[in-house]
Symmetry: D2
Subunit: 364 residues, 4 copies
């Protein structure tokens, strides 16, 4: 399988399966001297945890993270930091009748072809959205690291659920308030409609998708590189590791294609002795490098593939067309659980670049 | 700078500068036994070449590629293949007055902060779109490799220029015809409007962007991996190495966010003894793996940053606000030159995965 | 710290500390379909385990390995295989007075300079020979993998302890018998003297080193590559990850420097329709590639750095010269515990190359 | 083939073939701001050049290096530095009759099995010692980089040719004088015998090997890491990329295996307010980290494989035993040409670690 590591100087290796014994991660390359214990990780994990609201899957996982290496007397040592979450509420039984009928929208079919009967299909195995908890294990550390060393802060929030889009631009305050509502939305006017959209989909055995926006402030100028490790390259690579993501854009993104250069270029000016741009269509990145403006990313999530509506599919045992009725506990919409995952992947990528380029020292 | 290599088993290393002596690439990991000479590379390079039409930059570069290592008696040997294009028509003079006034939309500012006075700013140096020719150097080989070993074929074409979108779905035939028109568009009805949009922008000293769609057929089932080396992760990483790209989406992409799961899931069925999906909202990828359906990607290009309209900016020498009037020869729209670059990056990524997973042998 | 991973296609990541909660490893890239449970790992771990004989450290560790990911219904799935050994008998107290007096021959001094007060110095932390158990975690799997797919078999044994060298050339039979004696020596005539050498060193509060020889048979022709990933490059890199190793040579190694080419070249001949060499001064590797002859490596281990004899050193707190008397339970000679570690690193390296070059398929 | 790159933060990619159009290298990751032109490279290349003395091959290559990317106005820019040497005096004819009779000691046989008829066998192709010139291309830059930023200096010299070993320990002065004699030996008393040993071997159509010692001074404390990227791991990996190397040892190396710990441990003491060791059996490395003492490596070279004496071998066309008489121009001993290559690989490895750990900044 391979391909379970992210980063070059700060490397996150993800392991575990949705319904195996555990999920976990090794974060290698974190500087020595970062104060760290489970309390730096658990809150962010909790924000991603299943079963928090009735709009989420009812799988009950405490998702308790333990740090089992790399920390000594309360500080990181420079050694690989290993974190583990033991799976509790697995109920693999729910998946027993899914073995031969391949689920539309899921990895069942290509995974079967690729890994044959050896694939751990229980709850999606390695392909499960549950694995994004391992991104948060590493991401919570990266997020703390870039915050205390460089002041960088990443925040992600919901800007669309199904057809419901936010009506008001997010503000610093509204972004800080998102975890007080179930859909992690900064726009008070849209929250109710978004929740309704999810409940309504759930009621009809269906699902909805949505869009997360991520804004990172206080990035120094010059993170990244041209060509193959541009910030856009590395950020998108990281974000596409989230199973449901089907689109990633920076700044004005797809909309920029329809604009004139004279409208899309962000003009430079001097403000408080600092060079800034007066607009931010570039999303904070030019030539693959950060320019000191907020890094703005929008990430499109498809609707959850697991729906209880009857679907046509193929039975790979009989090699016949058939129908499928998925049981089990699923999120009618994964978007509200995504912000901490997006924050994690953005933080890991920026921390990696910051370490590569000497913005952060090996001992802090 | 680093970050000049792409791929893990098939590795493309790009080198050179827009107005330096040359640009070039080393492709390491190509199997032995592939018939190869410059004629496999030059045609694809020619399709990307500047100065072909009056809607493109008037810089005259022959862009003649030479293979200088890795080929013996007409076949690849397994050794690194080095290719070089000597720069001819550099006219660095055009850029002399750009040194201190940072160009909006360009990398000038972060590159100056990051690399100080050492940055080769001539024509954008390493940050220039000209470097995408190095992607084509490697990509033309990768494209041939996956075509003759696995039958995989990637084609990219213009679906939007500025506000002009294609009105008819591309067909196999219309895609094959794109290089007979200046904008590489498969829709006869839209070509004229697209050309007009570019000419009109050029006339007013402005620029436009657009959207390229890429379709890859005959991919075997099972290329890719879950999590960090998903096909989406690796394809998007590669595509974001193109300087003007600000959005990448797969299948129904951002549109899927507004759909119900029951509409977005692609149902499986059996056709001619093969398992296929009846729709392709997934863009040929589920769980990070190819499913044998066409891989469909859309790539958003921002409008060219170099415009001759007057712009506000900062002079970094005087640290004062100023205005800027960019001279030089620039594409009012880079999109028509992008299809071979997109084909290259998609082919390189798929070839890399095919080699990693043993779909292609080390000697073919 | 980083640098905790080995391999490019088959990647072993080591984690944990000598006196932390655990040590463990993630093996990423192992093909799906390999029958695997703890019984494939434990026997090899047991052969490396401390406290087996009175010539070894008296630290009592059961070294019980658990597989916590990557195996499903008795077979590898292709996902990362995570293995963990919980530390039991840590007695960190023994190390309390070592904090400021830097131990000669140990990493204390550079680790303190590099990681400051954050270094986990307990029992050597990350620098401890105990970490070689994590090599065995991955190596036992690699060893099984190349055995059942390609018939490759690696065996390592002691050829020198202190000044005592073996007197008779090892044979297939004598190599198979090594674990019946405490020093893992294939030469019955030398065993007694070797044990004596260790006991005598121990008695005087001193330590001895030695040399391990490793022989790998049934390697196919063509593993490896010229230049930077030559088999010698990758094998030596792996072997030097063992803390006490200070020399690595292949075939006639250092002795070849004094020979004439006409004596050192191995002539080719045909035997049983197979091309072989009549001698094996090359140690089975030419041009960085395996030639099908046994791969022969000799690895020099320095004497254990921890000795109870009084030593001169520096107290880094007072910055004064001082003397040091190391307590604690240490091996007077680590060589007898090294064969499974060497077998592991050789197997991991060969398995990695076999996977890279398609000698082993992603699903077996 | 792959495996043509060395390093993780500072990456050298080697390309070209012995009798192809050129050989060359790309050095990626070199900091911006290093004053650089061909004069920094050519002198070191000249010291490795063939045809300098009558004890060396008579192939006449000027080995003129050109820098074709990555340098602007006399300084490195941070972009990949590409260097090229066009091959001149190839005389591939000499090799025509070697195609089917596999040369003992050479890569012919495994290369043929691995790359089939596609292998570029001319003069050894990718496997030729000539490719070590590409190590010098990158190494000369790395050597300058660590010298001017950290004061690190690597020097290598001959300590053994055939059976002739130096009789006097090298001194700073004698090391500086080595290039005034043909065998690069610091011991005036041994030079004559060494030259004689080579001439005598040449006269009888034979060859000899030898040992190079490398000493690096002024290394800061703490370069390297424990486990898989120990300095020993990375240095040995690099050094084994030299085709004739069959042994690498650090400090007292193989000799340490026969010593007691109390004799092999280097005691610490304070001298001029600096912590040093009173001996240097560790060769400057403990726990994989530099300790500030000289890094001492000895590298064993086998005798040149190309000899003109008649040898038994196999004709792979007829699959019959046969005899072989190698013509062509070969070094009877490659050791005198090795010091700049060893200096290069040591410097590249140390520079890579210095960059990884922030000892050298991205812009100097």
């Amino acid at each position: 399988m391979s391909g379970n590591s992210l980063g070059s100087r700060l490397v996150l290796t993800s392991f575990g399966e949705s319904h195996g014994k555990c999920i976990g991660a090794v974060l290698d390359g974190c500087p020595a001297g970062l104060a760290l214990d489970e309390n730096d990780i658990q809150p962010m994990l909790n924000l991603r945890k299943p079963g928090q609201y009735d709009i989420s899957t009812q799988r009950q996982e405490e998702d308790l993270a333990s740090i089992i290496s790399g920390v000594f007397r309360g500080y990181t040592t420079g050694a690989p930091i290993t974190m583990i979450i033991w799976n509790k509420d697995q109920r693999s039984k729910d998946y027993d009748n899914l073995i031969t009928k391949i689920r539309p929208g899921h990895s069942d079919y290509p995974a079967l072809v690729k890994y044959k009967q050896f694939n751990d299909f229980r709850g999606g195995g390695r392909f499960s959205g549950r694995l994004t908890a391992t991104h948060v294990l590493g991401g919570s550390i990266a997020r703390k690291l870039i915050k205390i060393t460089l002041g960088i802060e990443t925040n992600s929030y919901t800007v669309q659920i199904g057809k419901i889009k936010i009506k008001n631009e997010p503000t610093k305050n509204s972004i800080e308030s998102i975890y007080s509502n179930e859909v992690r939305c900064p726009d008070q006017e849209s929250i109710h409609d978004m929740i309704d959209a999810i409940k309504s989909a759930k009621k009809s055995g269906d699902s909805v998708g949505g869009i997360i926006e991520s804004v990172t402030v206080n990035t120094p100028v010059g993170l990244g590189s041209p060509i193959f490790n541009s910030l856009e390259s590395d950020l998108s690579r990281a974000l596409y590791s989230i199973p449901s993501v089907k689109g990633v854009e920076f700044g004005s993104g797809f909309a920029s294609s329809a604009k004139f250069g004279s409208k899309n270029n962000d003009e430079f000016t001097i403000k408080n002795n600092k060079i800034i741009t007066t607009t931010n269509n570039a999303g904070g990145i030019l030539g693959g490098l950060s320019i000191g403006m907020p890094i703005v990313i929008r990430i499109a999530f498809k609707p959850t593939s697991s729906i209880s509506k009857m679907q046509n599919t193929v039975d790979v045992e009989t090699n016949q067309n058939t129908t499928l009725n998925i049981k089990g506990r699923h999120d009618p919409c994964v978007v509200p659980r995504a912000p901490p995952v997006v924050d994690s992947l953005v933080s890991l990528t920026l921390a990696d670049h910051a370490l590569q380029d000497g913005f952060i020292k090996p001992v802090i």
